[in-house]
């Protein structure tokens, strides 16, 4: 029997599902366009009646306020709002990257502890996870900032570690590395070491595929990465020195200061996000069928080979997507810094700049655009990872 087109009876145009679909879509589009037009119209009326200027020219105006932490040169008197935007963006990136590193380390340890055969370790990890993931992140940020860090002593009574690290209510003070002439050689040697490791990994994989011989790639790589720069460092005559923070009067001079706002934010974000990463790690490892481990064991493989060659490759496929999502969440949560005044994008731009300039639409759209860019980049990364890790069927 051949497929026959169903006869459309002429009872009315609207009874045809296809016609109806087009009708509904046009209706929906018309509604959206109408509302967009209505809102835009009102907006322009309101802007005009309130005397707000429009456009992005305000970005070239001088900002004229101080910022407690800047990664690029910034001057109260001459820097523009565009500089403020960049400073905020960089500070957001700084706290996000540091937070992601710490959260991953804590999360990984917790996830492994959660799966440990040791009853106590597993339960302690569970208690940690259930405690911190059920407390709002903003509450944790405020607690760290207003209670824990506010209780730290003044600079004169600082906690001192190894005579070079100081902790007080002005923040955490670390020795600052000073790059002198010849330090370029150290950095170049480190970069070369990284390149060498990449080629080494390729070579060892090729050799393993061809001959089946193992190469202690992990140990050799670590040794290369550590030894090469250290060797060059001493050959070049120790060109990198450290400047230690020194107590002068009531405050410290020199060194690298990590402001308390950044500390509080880092503590809260990494502790909170670690709980989600730990759950992802646990779920991923548990998702590997038990038979896989048993089969590997019955083949006589060693424990660490089972972990690195059998369990992890399968577990990572499950672990990585939710963990990358958590990284994005951490970045978005860093916007809560505005509650404690850490100078990141939302604090500086949607907060201070908005108050000074008053151009709400441009400023909020720019802020949102930054976060949207982050999330689009992350989803592109996720798609790439998923495609790369997808089970290769035949």
């Amino acid at each position: 029997m051949t497929n026959k087109q169903l006869p459309v009876d002429g009872k009315g145009l609207l009874n045809n599902p296809q016609h109806r679909a087009i009708f509904f879509q046009i209706l929906a589009l018309a509604l959206v366009v109408f509302f967009a037009f209505y809102f835009a119209n009102n907006m322009f009326d309101n802007i005009e009646s309130r005397g707000i200027t429009t456009g992005f020219s305000f970005l070239n105006n001088t900002a004229g306020f101080g910022i407690s932490q800047t990664l690029i040169p910034y001057d109260d008197g001459t820097s523009t709002f565009l500089d403020v935007f960049i400073v905020g963006l960089l500070n957001t990136l700084l706290v996000s990257v540091l937070g992601i590193i710490f959260a991953s380390i804590i999360g990984l340890l917790l996830g492994v502890a959660r799966l440990s055969s040791n009853f106590l370790m597993s339960k302690l990890a569970l208690v940690y996870i259930e405690t911190f993931r059920n407390i709002p992140i903003l509450l944790q940020i405020l607690f760290w900032y207003n209670v824990v860090l506010a209780a730290l002593p003044s600079p004169r009574q600082s906690f001192v570690y190894l005579d070079s690290v100081f902790l007080n209510n002005r923040g955490l003070l670390l020795p600052e590395p000073i790059l002198q002439s010849g330090s370029g050689a150290v950095i170049i040697s480190f970069v070369l070491a990284i390149v060498a490791v990449i080629y080494l990994v390729r070579w060892s994989r090729q050799r393993h595929n061809d001959t089946g011989q193992e190469f202690p790639i992990f140990k050799v790589s670590i040794a290369l990465l550590l030894l090469a720069p250290t060797l060059v460092y001493f050959i070049a005559g120790q060109p990198i020195t450290a400047e230690y923070p020194v107590l002068k009067g009531f405050n410290f001079n020199g060194g690298l200061t990590i402001i308390p706002e950044l500390l509080a934010l880092l503590f809260a974000l990494s502790i909170y996000t670690a709980t989600y990463i730990a759950e992802a790690v646990r779920a991923g490892i548990e998702a590997v069928p038990k038979g896989q481990k048993e089969a590997a064991k019955s083949l006589g493989l060693k424990d660490y080979v089972i972990l690195t060659k059998v369990v992890l490759p399968q577990a990572l496929r499950v672990i990585i997507p939710p963990v990358i999502n958590q990284f994005l969440n951490l970045t978005k949560n860093s916007s809560l810094a505005t509650a404690i005044g850490y100078p990141e994008l939302v604090t500086l731009f949607s907060g201070t700049t908005l108050n000074q300039v008053g151009q709400a639409i441009e400023i909020i759209l720019m802020t949102m655009a930054v976060y949207l860019t982050f999330s689009i980049l992350i989803s592109l990364l996720l798609n790439w990872v998923n495609a790369k890790m997808a089970i290769k069927g035949r």
């Binding site: 907006m43 809560l336 976060y371």
Partner: protein, 359 residues
Amino acid sequence: MATYTMKEAKPAPTANKGIIFWLKENLFPDVKSSLFTLFGLYVIYSIVPPLLDWMIFNATWSGTQDEVVNSGARWIFIIEKFDQFMYGFYPESLHWRPNLVAIISIVFVFSFKYIKNLKVKIAGILLFPVVCFILISGGWFGLEVVETEKWGGLMLTILVAAVGIIASFPIGVVLALGRQSNMPILRTLCIGFIEFVRGVPLITILFMASVLLPLFFHDGIEFNKLLRALIGITLFQAAYIAEVVRGGLQAIPKGQYEASEALGLSYWQGMILIILPQALKISIPNLVGSFISLFKDTTLVLIIGLFDILAMVTLTNSDTNWLGYEVEGYVFVTLIYWVCCFSMSQYSKSIERKFNTEH
């Protein structure tokens, strides 16, 4: 010829049971694990006794602040400021109204199981928010009007969370259906909205609602601060609900969609009678999960100047008679949030187990 003689079954080896065996198996099986156990015990020892001392044994539970001698928590602060933590600046003589709303809500939720008549159910669902709103804000039936600026504390937190979940649910379901529909323009609009909202932090949405919303309407239309926050939170939550529901819709076998079409049901009939009941049922655990995040996210309203229970900590500490009680305040609020979120997550896990019929 060998004869078979019955032998008594031996008792199970004693080394395989009992508390000693369990300890040996789970805590001290080898040197490495034993070291971890000792480390764990040390962690417990250094955290739990001081915490218990501070929270219970050395705490001050009654009296006035001049009599505080103990080194532990001074819970008298919480007891003194309890009303403010619960109701914000809601007039004290009218506290019975939020209390009544709380009782009505509990009764409503529990009696819902026993109401069989669908019309009564729908009437209840529609009437319930109206009654609650009238009771809290007043202005009808001779009830005194209470301005929204005076709402605060836990009452406001629960209100924001409840409105957020109830109002965002239908929007979220419609968005999910739109995203799954085969009409390209509609689908694009829904995807655009969902991905936009999910791509930005809630705080920027709240800023948008509080700063931009008034610009979008004529001068005559007034939005108070609370309403703006509620609109922002509802739109935000709707996008997340949409994604959860989409997950449920995608899990429904295609045969169900085809069957509903084969029965001659229209799109909406098929969705409401066949697809959605199944899709929503399997998404309940994730819906609860998304509700937990919303409940935690309600704390953000303090940034745009509403006085939820977390904002109350700072506010109560600005009382010159009660300075320096932040720790007690934060711990108290933490406990409230923790108990709510933890019980909800346990509930969602129990539902997941109930639905999980595979072995």
